[in-house]
């Protein structure tokens, strides 16, 4: 077999690819309107995640902390949750949803967050906030389990489980996007609208890219509503694009409400977007319109300009969220690029059983490594000490120095991409995402050729 899947051998992490579970839950929470999460733990668990998100999107989002200090860590900190809920509700009259997101510290001390939610529902909310719609949603995301990816999956599942409620069919499709950028949601909604499909998109985060307005009062937040969440039980079908970021919620809806469900593929590249459209067609009975044939044609046209002249046989390493990495690898193969190294940054044991990874193992005809529970040292050590040669790196900004110090061109993809301007505005999914990805990869390589005087004259004639 040319393609080997193995786990990092070292026990520790040198330069992590992911942060921990609560970060994923926080990223979910900001996608919902009238929702401010309370992270139950130390203040750093919120402060740094808010910073991280603001680095990526160049926007600020509101997330609160229960500010657990020493006494709380010793004697239990549920009283901090009670105060936090009260203070939030008093000062943010629009807030209706408060997820209570646990962390390692409050899981270790065994704070009964579910219990305190019952207590608050029966006490504070009835006594002080009678008549106000308030939903307290406990979300357990201990940092010593999984990663930000599973945190996203868990939080989404918990929201759905809390809200989804069967009534009349709403004639809509549930589209669960996974951890994406505003630009991706725009592209997905474009595809849906061309197909004339009415969908509940989880999450409506296009306004994560928010404007500076003359009245100066914009607060960045997603637009998914309580009704959207309730209505997920009444959809005629669910498509979850990412197995590891939303798959759990899709399965819950399937199991509980018998909603036909398709999980995957991540529609990165032409082939996976085709499959996505085919799935939409299958689920809705609606035809794929000429307009998308046209859009697809534009993409094929653009890719044809690039593949065999510039991209063929280039060796690339890819790291980041698993569905993104797999989707990018598949697209690279279609572009004749060789993804020689994939790094999946947590210890989820399902990765090795993922059918897409199995397919790579069975069919790839060059030497390829897939590392699970990986860190960025797995990449850098191979380059520095084991002779790995790369033409391109695809990954998020935390790996920037691997590229910089080893003179390897790198295209920023995924989360976070704080060291490049505005990438959150562009899609990597759909036909437009395929165009953007291929052209950015090419331009990244072109700039590198010029900088290194490596056959830069080739581009005189193109």
């Amino acid at each position: 077999m040319n393609c080997e899947v193995k786990s990092k051998e070292r026990v520790g992490v040198i330069n992590p690819i992911f942060t921990c579970q609560p970060a994923g839950a926080q990223y979910v929470s900001i996608g919902i309107r009238d929702c401010i999460g309370i992270v139950h733990g130390g203040q750093g668990c919120v402060m740094f995640v808010r910073l991280l998100i603001s680095q990526h999107l160049k926007e600020s989002f509101e997330i609160a902390s229960s500010s657990v200090h020493e006494e709380g860590a010793v004697f239990g900190a549920l009283n901090r949750v009670e105060t936090a809920v009260d203070v939030l509700l008093m000062r943010y009259p629009h807030v209706k949803i408060i997820p209570i997101i646990t962390t390692c510290s409050t899981e270790v001390i065994g704070d009964d967050v579910d219990g305190v939610v019952i207590k608050l529902n029966e006490g504070l909310l009835q006594e002080k906030y009678a008549g106000r719609e308030v939903h307290l949603v406990p979300i357990h995301t201990p940092s010593f389990v999984g990663s930000m990816v599973s945190g996203y999956d868990v939080a989404l599942h918990d929201f759905i489980k809390y809200f989804a409620e069967k009534s009349e069919p709403n004639g809509k499709l549930n589209l669960i996007t996974g951890w994406v950028n505003p630009g991706d949601v725009t592209e997905l909604k474009y595809l849906l609208s061309e197909m004339q499909i009415d969908a509940t998109v989880l999450f409506e985060i296009e306004n994560f890219d928010s404007p500076v307005m003359p009245d100066g009062n914009v607060v960045s937040q997603g637009d998914t509503t309580i009704d959207d969440l309730i209505g997920t039980a009444n959809a005629y079908g669910t498509i979850a694009l990412n197995r590891y970021e939303g798959g759990k919620a899709a399965q819950y809806l399937e199991k509980t409400f018998k909603i036909p469900t398709i999980i995957g593929p991540t529609p990165i590249g032409i082939r996976n977007t085709d499959t996505f459209l085919q799935n939409l067609k299958k689920m809705t009975g609606k035809p794929i319109p000429k307009s998308l044939v046209h859009k697809r044609g534009l993409a094929i046209d653009a890719l044809t300009d690039l593949t065999h002249m510039f991209l063929a046989d280039k060796k690339v390493a890819i790291y980041g969220n698993p569905d993104l990495v797999i989707g990018l690898a598949e697209f690279c193969l279609d572009l004749e690029i060789k993804p020689v190294l994939l790094l999946l940054g947590d210890d989820n044991s399902f990765y090795a059983k993922d059918t897409r990874i199995k397919a790579l193992q069975e069919k790839v005809d060059f030497k390829m490594e897939i590392i699970t529970n990986a860190d960025l040292w797995e990449l850098e050590n191979r380059i520095k000490n084991e002779g790995l040669e790369l033409d391109l790196i695809l990954g998020h900004s935390k790996g920037r120095f691997v590229a910089i110090d080893n003179n390897i061109p790198m295209l920023r993809v995924g989360f976070p991409t704080y060291d490049r301007a505005g990438l959150h505005r562009y899609p990597v999914v759909g036909y437009n995402g395929a165009i953007w990805l291929a052209e950015q990869m090419a331009n990244t390589i072109f700039a590198d050729m010029e900088y290194k005087h490596n056959k830069e004259w080739v581009l005189n004639v193109w």
Binding site: G42, C104, S105
Partner: protein
């Protein structure tokens, strides 16, 4: 001096004691915000945790060290690549971070064994690095791992390595300040006195509480070297682990950020009798006074004066160019801790701006005493500000600019208030004479940004000015200036390079002969 009650915080009355307005003729004995108290849960405070105060603020600027956090991966990831403390060894400390990656099974069965394995692996991956700092996190503090025992075990087995253990979990104290304290005390207790340094000068200092943001400490080290003073160690920006173990051999501790590092100076005073001299490295006059005082301590004032004269002559005309253009501009000075007092008076004096508000995320009452004393009348001082209070303050005070952190800067952007990064700087260094001009330049560029001007226009309502295809910062600034100021030939705009620090590495310094014997 009346306490200030924010409308948005009327429902949490304990907040009232955390903000004051400095009224005419009033002083800090009349009202002082409470400080360093537990945060009100759910208030959306801007504070971080004691782990980050120890590891992220003070530990990590040490440049020749493996910085390993014992806990789940998030603490490490989150405090990595969010600072601009550089080093002259190719930024090793910025590039590499290490987590023991504690998982559920370790929580249940203990994580000491895997910690040991972690330490050994990290040294193996970076065979040239022989020093390590080890940080506790919330999770490993709660399960009670004995990190010191593990560190001792490894040091016994690997005699060429040295490991420093810092037990400062995130929950220890109301804010990052708790971590500053813990790591200061741990360092002096466990590490100072272990290394005997090479003394190369008659005049030897530790430069303490300085984190080399964008090269600040390299700029200051340049001044000290030009005066023939040996900087034995920097605590901790661009600092070296072994140099910092030799802190006991300095004759004087020059203290910059008293908020984060006074503890170690105080302890050095008690244990070794080394005096502490607090200085201000920001601003021409405070910096000149500071350099003069350090030199005077050693009886070499003439060297300081020569340096001050040279630097002032070079950079003062540029500072004054900006001062003419920044006069009267209203500033919210909203940093973390020490900069509120480092800057409050000197930006008023030397750049002509009006500080209308100061705040501190993690400062103590002592920082507020300094900050409020150094403000002019009318300033609003806020301790542990939260999101709604900050917005309310910006809307009512209408500042021309705010100096704060990256994320709060995004909040300001929406309110259309330009922001400068008070922690990481925009185009620093901001210390030193040239640095101070760079700060003024950054303020000017932010306030007179043509794009900022455009952000104030409502094209659906306002008259749209159609005559210009462009406007320059200079055109906007000049609109409010007298002709003789605009054409003043003795003033000029900043003339330095984008990177004013890297060249210092290759600089040759005068050889002041060492007179005394060791």
């Amino acid at each position: 001096m009346p306490y200030h009650e924010f409308k948005c915080s009327e429902c949490i009355p304990e907040r009232k004691m955390h903000a004051v307005v400095k009224g005419p003729g009033e002083d800090i004995t009349m009202a002082l915000p409470l400080g360093y108290l537990n945060t009100i849960p759910g208030s959306i405070s801007e504070r971080g945790c004691a782990y980050c105060g120890a590891k992220h603020v003070i530990g990590t600027p040490m440049k020749d060290v493996i910085h390993l956090s014992h806990g789940p991966v998030g603490c490490t990831y989150d405090t990595w690549q969010t600072k601009r403390y550089i080093s002259d060894n190719d930024n090793f400390q910025l590039k590499y971070t290490y987590a023991s990656d504690v998982k559920e099974k370790n929580i249940v069965f203990g994580a000491e064994k895997m910690l040991k394995q972690n330490i050994i692996e990290a040294f193996k991956a970076f065979p040239k690095i022989k020093r390590m700092t080890l940080y506790q996190t919330c999770a490993t503090a709660l399960i009670g791992d004995d990190m010191n025992a593990i560190a001792d075990e490894v040091m016994e087995e690997m005699p060429d390595v040295d490991i420093f253990v810092c037990n400062s979990p995130g929950f220890r104290g109301p804010s990052q300040s708790g971590g500053h304290h813990t790591i200061n005390i741990a360092w002096i207790k466990d590490k100072v006195g272990q290394v005997e340094p090479k003394i190369t000068s008659d005049y030897v200092i530790n430069y303490v509480g300085e984190y080399n943001i964008q090269g600040d400490s390299e700029v200051m080290a340049d001044y000290f070297r030009r005066m023939g003073i040996q900087v034995l160690s920097t605590f901790t920006g661009n600092g070296s682990y072994d140099d910092l173990r030799a802190m006991h051999r300095a004759q004087l501790n020059v203290l910059e950020c008293a908020r984060s590092a006074e503890y170690i100076c105080n302890e050095l005073r008690v244990r070794y009798g080394t005096p502490r001299l607090d200085i201000d490295g920001f601003g021409f006059e405070p910096l000149s006074n500071s350099l003069r005082k350090v030199a005077m301590f050693f009886g070499i004032e003439d060297r300081a004066q020569a340096l001050i004269d040279e630097e002032t002559a070079r950079w003062k005309p540029e500072l004054d160019w900006y001062k003419e253009r920044l006069k009267g501009k209203k500033v919210c000075l909203w940093p973390g801790g020490s900069k509120l007092w480092h800057w409050a008076n000197v930006i008023h004096e030397e750049m002509g701006v009006e500080v209308i508000s100061v705040y501190t995320k993690f400062g103590h009452q002592g920082d507020m005493e300094k900050g409020i004393s150094r403000c002019e009348e009318g300033a609003l001082a806020i301790d542990d500000p939260n999101e709604l209070e900050s917005v309310e303050a910006m809307l009512s005070l209408k500042p021309d600019i705010i100096f704060t952190g990256k994320r709060p800067g995004e909040v300001a952007k929406k309110i259309r208030v330009p922001y400068l990064n008070a922690h990481a700087y925009h185009n620093g260094p901001w210390k030193g004479y040239e640095g101070w001009v760079r700060f003024a330049r950054d303020i000017y560029n932010a306030i007179y940004s043509p794009i900022h001007q455009l952000s104030l226009l409502d094209i659906s309502k306002d008259e749209i000015p159609t005559g210009n295809g462009f406007v320059t910062s200079g055109m906007i600034a000049n609109a409010g200036l007298a002709e003789e100021v605009i054409s003043a030939g003795d003033l000029r705009q900043y003339s330095g390079k984008y990177d004013c620090v890297s060249d210092l590495k290759n600089k040759i310094y005068p050889d002041f002969k060492k007179v005394t014997e060791e």
